[in-house]
Symmetry: C5
Subunit: 386 residues, 5 copies
């Protein structure tokens, strides 16, 4: 899948496509990604009564476990050793195209049926300051499930503990239930990310209300980008889980389907929350735009009031600063020599200023916050019988 990652550290190549196979390679070629984690295999074979765990084992050790126990779970991490990938693929007869998809990260979530196994792709997420996405692939066939994670993380630790409990549902069920339990653990990693989105939106909301504006638009866009990123890995997963329930009854039994339906329900819940967050993002942005626009309007109104009050006064002052010679004729600025000339001029100025203030007050322009009601506007004052 073409997940676009905006790398916050690197200046260049933010909207880059992550690792992908070079064009024109042969179909089914396994190409190890740069900086892949070292490959480690961990096998767990179990039935209702017994369980065998082999940490950091080899393909040869796994070969001996095949067919001995009802279910064999191979929990692999890291894509560095191409030879291990190929050997395990040959041992379990995994299709080359599915091995290519596993190693050619990132893929879109999907579930594909191959002649003798299922192949599924999903993603786990972690959220520390920003959203990190990591691919996990599943191969499931008669008696075995392989889970292969791109990088090590703790998402299957709890499941492993549950598996060790004798008499638990996982222990007494088949490979279909194990596949469900693994998928469920993957989907559980989305909820902390959802909570982080909620916290971020709360924070943005608070900052908009407090009148902060530093990087709000940037932060809103960053949050929206992460919401879209998560949505892009959850949306196809919904269809994938749905297809799993309907198309692969040779492997997935009745009871497992009821559990996968619960899985599907969780995915729909995540999508639902993402939809809500996207709307919340839009609302925060709208609030911010309104706040900015209100402040701009306030600025404009302030300018208007100060300017329009003083411009006529300034004109009057200028008028009586003219140098027409009162001695040249009686018509030339006789006011200058009136005994009450100056007080009258001051009074005129004061009257004009107060008149304007009154006019602005009537129009509701004097509201300090720029949003007062438009009191006594003409249409409001008409008699009520209209």
């Amino acid at each position: 899948m073409a997940i676009l990652k905006r790398d916050p550290n690197k200046k260049k190549r933010r909207w880059r496509l992550r690792h992908r196979v070079k064009p024109n390679t042969r179909p089914g070629t396994i190409i190890v990604p740069e900086k892949a984690a070292p490959t480690r295999l961990h096998a767990t074979a179990y039935g209702p009564d017994e369980i065998v765990e082999k940490l950091d084992c080899t393909v040869a050790q796994i070969k001996k476990l095949i067919g001995k126990y009802p279910v064999l779970w191979i929990d692999a991490v890291g894509l560095k050793e191409e030879s291990v990938i190929r050997e395990l693929g040959e041992l379990l007869k995994l299709h080359p195209l599915s091995l290519e998809d596993m190693s050619n990260i990132p893929q879109r979530p999907k579930i594909e049926g191959y002649p003798n196994h299922l192949f599924a792709v999903a993603h786990t997420t972690t959220y520390k300051k920003s959203l990190a996405i990591s691919q996990v692939s599943f191969f499931a066939g008669e008696g075995f499930v392989v889970s292969w994670r791109e990088r090590t993380n703790d998402c299957f630790d709890f499941l492993r503990k549950r598996l060790e409990v004798k008499g638990g549902t996982t222990r007494s069920s088949g490979e279909d239930y194990l596949l469900y339990a693994l998928m469920d653990a993957v989907i559980d990693t989305y909820f902390p990310a959802l909570e982080s989105f909620g916290d971020k939106l709360d924070d943005l909301d608070d900052r908009v209300e407090a009148g902060h504006s530093g990087d709000i638009v940037k932060d809103i866009h960053a949050t929206r980008h992460e919401i879209r990123l998560l949505r892009r890995i959850v949306w196809p997963l919904r269809d994938a889980v749905d297809g799993l329930m309907r198309k692969h009854d040779w492997l997935i039994g009745e009871e497992a389907i009821i559990h996968f339906r619960d899985c599907h329900d969780h995915v729909v819940q995540v999508l639902d929350a993402l939809e809500s967050y996207r709307d919340a993002c839009s609302d925060v942005r709208d609030h911010y735009a309104t706040a900015v626009s209100n402040r701009m309007n306030e600025t404009m109104r302030f300018l208007t009031i100060i300017s329009t009050i003083f411009i006529p006064l300034g004109f009057l002052a200028g008028l009586y600063g003219m140098n027409f010679n009162p001695e040249a004729s009686k018509l030339n600025m006789p006011e200058l020599n009136w005994p009450w000339g100056y007080p009258i001029a001051l009074g005129l100025m004061g009257t004009i200023a107060l008149g304007q203030v009154y006019y602005f007050w009537r129009r509701g322009w004097l509201g300090g916050n720029g949003e007062k009601p438009k009191n006594a506007s003409p249409q409001q004052m008409k008699p009520p019988n209209k």
Copy 2:
């Protein structure tokens, strides 16, 4: 379901997800929500001829009623007692996943078929100042219906009264009709919320028209948020009721289907009204934006008129305030000594001012409300034969 609740009281955590199960818990685990209401069971067993009601009864008392009457309705409230939930689940063979969904509020509305019962989730609403949503779960099997409400409320009181009337349709019908009647009571709680939205929109409309603007944008967004919240619990309910009519004929009979169709029709009506309200929200917002923009334009025009009238006058006043020495030469400001100098200057100023006022009047800029027709614009004055 991931209902996002903007808690008006708490400052922090507004866009939070409400209670949800901790990641990595075993499927089917019943986890009692914090602050859950105490659990109370109320059993009603009835047939056309007899009815037995047991208030605040125990699971053991219910066990005795099973199979004795055509229909057994267990009306439970509160999710606090995990043991009661588990015991009743075992008594009626309810699937652990359905019990988990019941206790893990909030869930999305849905109807799921389990091997020997149906499981349905819906939500009741109440509207006091803001929208409050409460989950109700239904389990329906051969001879019984369980309704389990998150919190106590009065939504089933009227149904209980109807049930007590001998000869009523509910009494003489089976568990399918009871399930319908309960769902119908739940859907009826949406209509008062719809009315409140209508009142809010009326009020917003009035405030926009009256020129108020205090918190209009905020209030519009709050209303739109609540409309979306209600829509989010009604939209999936539509599909759920539709599925119920088509897929579960082992429980739902012909006559009940006709009634569920009426139920479906009500849900569609609610969605239709929500759609209308959403459009109304957009219209109110557009009206407000137009009003704000008009006021801004009016302010700008006022500034322009005052400024452009006085700026040339001020220049003229300044011109004749210059101190060039008329005695240095005849070219230096001879106007100052003209007998009619001052009156001519005043006349010039008056002419300029009136000229501008006329120009503005012709351009239609003098309309007090900032929206007068642009009289006598060039294209209007062309001869009519064109």
Copy 3:
């Protein structure tokens, strides 16, 4: 159906839901709306050769007509008499839920099959200043059609005249053709409303072009609201008519289906026109927004030109109005005593003013309408070989 009606007369409750059943009433309850019109029944029984009409008849009189003629048309108006509704329902075995829907106006358009009759809801419209919508319900079974209008209107008058003509298609066809003819008459009432929308849009267009702006935004929103209102009753009707053609062949024959297809075609035409009008609404609004924005820009440019021309001139005038004492030193404002001081100052002012006017002319800012080409902009003057 939750039709939202913006009552132009009442100040309060504009976005209200119209009459609806109180929550928690028993399913199938007939609740007469407030201000319902008095109930009147009008029966017409006919076959190819004979026709009997009974105006203002009773249910008892209708009972005698049943089964005597090939087709019985009961044309009812008004929902006031609950007893008449119930009696006629019992006579023709109409389902209680369908009678509830008929009386609980408004409903969404729909067609529902009940065990022994069809039930259809549609709406007639009239357009006098504003759009008025009135519900009409149909019940059709073996040998009868009931049409029940909320209020009296003339929409079936022409059909009644056609029915009186012996040998006409309606007379010689069955109840399916009668149902078609009634539906067709209902759909015909939408076209005058469409024409009114066209007239309104023409008028709005003219007002925008003429520069009027009084209440244009309000009127555009009102028109768009009515377009949405009509769309909301026509859109579900499309699916209803479609369902009628495909699902009810026990009542609707081959030839009638061809006619219902024509009906469906008309509904699609109405929707198509509504879509066009909605686009036209958006275009008118965009035109208006552009016109307002252009006028605002023009105002701004005017202010800029006047201000920027006079501000430097005013500064110069102020400069030579300073009172530095030329007698204190030769450096203090010697210009004041130059013989050509004043003419040089005037010339400088004139030069600055003309320079600015030339600059504005070059930038294309002097276009009276604020929209002149930006002649001779830098990139235009580059040599053509680039």
Copy 4:
């Protein structure tokens, strides 16, 4: 179909619905449109070996040709003579509803099956200054095809010439291939309109880049309106052609279906181009809005620069224009009598002016085009190790 035509000549009734049947007419009534063109029939009967053409023939003449040749093509133009329409309908047993649709222009494109013939509606377009649309109806049954054009045009001329060539595919194929060839000729008329749209968009693009702005918004809206108009007659045609291929195998053979698939492909190409043009329209509008907004910003910045440079200077000039009496005390404006008073004042003014110019230059406000980089903004100047 409710094509909305904005008549450029008539002032009133631009958004009018074109000719439509009066409400409440009997189904199947043929109503001749006002200003209908006179009716002319042109019959061509042919087979692989022979061809007979009769120009301006009567229905009686056509009657004699029926059944004599493998294919009979009746090419009719004009809807004026209702009697001719009715007679030909009776001769070929055409359904009254299809004849009504043919005469009641405009209809939406569609293909309908009647008991013994197909009925299709499509539209031809011509483009001279503005888009003109004209309806053409087709009736196709065993051995005949009727094409009936609203007005005369040259769209079938080329096909007629191809028909005269002995051995051509059309001559040796049946009525299904003739129907295909006619439809293909109709669809070919859309391409010149598409080219005109392209030319108009090029022209608009040029005008926006050149800084013209006269009527650009109006012209963009007009183009978008025409794109929508064409889309409205092509979109339903796609479904119609698709239905023709899948549902009418009694008339349309295998080989003809391959050709209709090509037809369908052309329709999809037209829609694809219209989609592109619509996007191009939006882009041109966005470009224009950006250009207008940039010019506005430029104006504002110019005003700011001139005002803020001269306002402090003007204040200083005013300051030293005050008339405080230096002789009243030594504190009263001693500067006026300083020997260097005036040069110092001028120097102060110059310093303030240059300081502001430098500040504006640093902020990037002096870019002549109003879009220069914001050189040396604070965050850019931080050390690179951050």
Copy 5:
């Protein structure tokens, strides 16, 4: 397909439709496009054990290879020689309509089944400064695949090398796998274009952040246009590949379907990335709009601050520049003769200026970047217990 190409070199005809058949040509006519590349055929016949390659061969030479080897691949380039197209078409019995589509570039991507061969259209892309698209058509039947490129390019070179390796999957598979390998090579050409889009968006993002603004809007639109262009050739390809897998099992075997599914997955990845880029485009545009708007607000605020500080000061200066005669009365400007008159006036001015600066600082208007927090706004200062 109607690909709209904005030709950057030609001034006119940017939104033109590329080469298309003249209206009214006979179906199946091969019309060589202007400036078509010369036709060259290159035949490769192979089986698991042997391979024969003939460069620049004739149709006659190809005729001899037919049926001799399991798979015959004819790799043709250039559409100039109509005779060669027709001859090869006759040799392999290719349908005239498919040959027309091949030569009538551009077509929309599609896969069509003809009686004895498949016909597919796809496009290769190259990206040097701008996106170039070139059509490639495929014909596949029993034992042969024809690939016909509009222009020569290197997209099949790698495949040819793989084919020469004995024992490779391609060599040992049939014509279905060859068709898959060719399609896969075509789809691989889209990834470099995707990378270029990413680079462009990075660059635009950098320029917006650095405050550049030269042609950003133009460049954003150009990038969005290219994204749409690519999307328009990839979107229909998705459906085409899907149809290939489901409908043509007479040619496409089980194992090839698994490979085509991989092909389909790549197409979906490309679409997914395009969707992301489109969102990124919108975000960059929003960022830019915000940046422009912020700069505008900053300008306005600067103007307001300078103006409102100096306008009252200027008034005061003008006031004491009035020439009222202090000698005419004691009321006339006695301040002018006060000993402390001038210092008091200066002090008054300073107080007013500082008061305003303090007011602006309190409102947060003095933030240099125009985005400082609105410190100490009223609601912030309320006691925390609220």
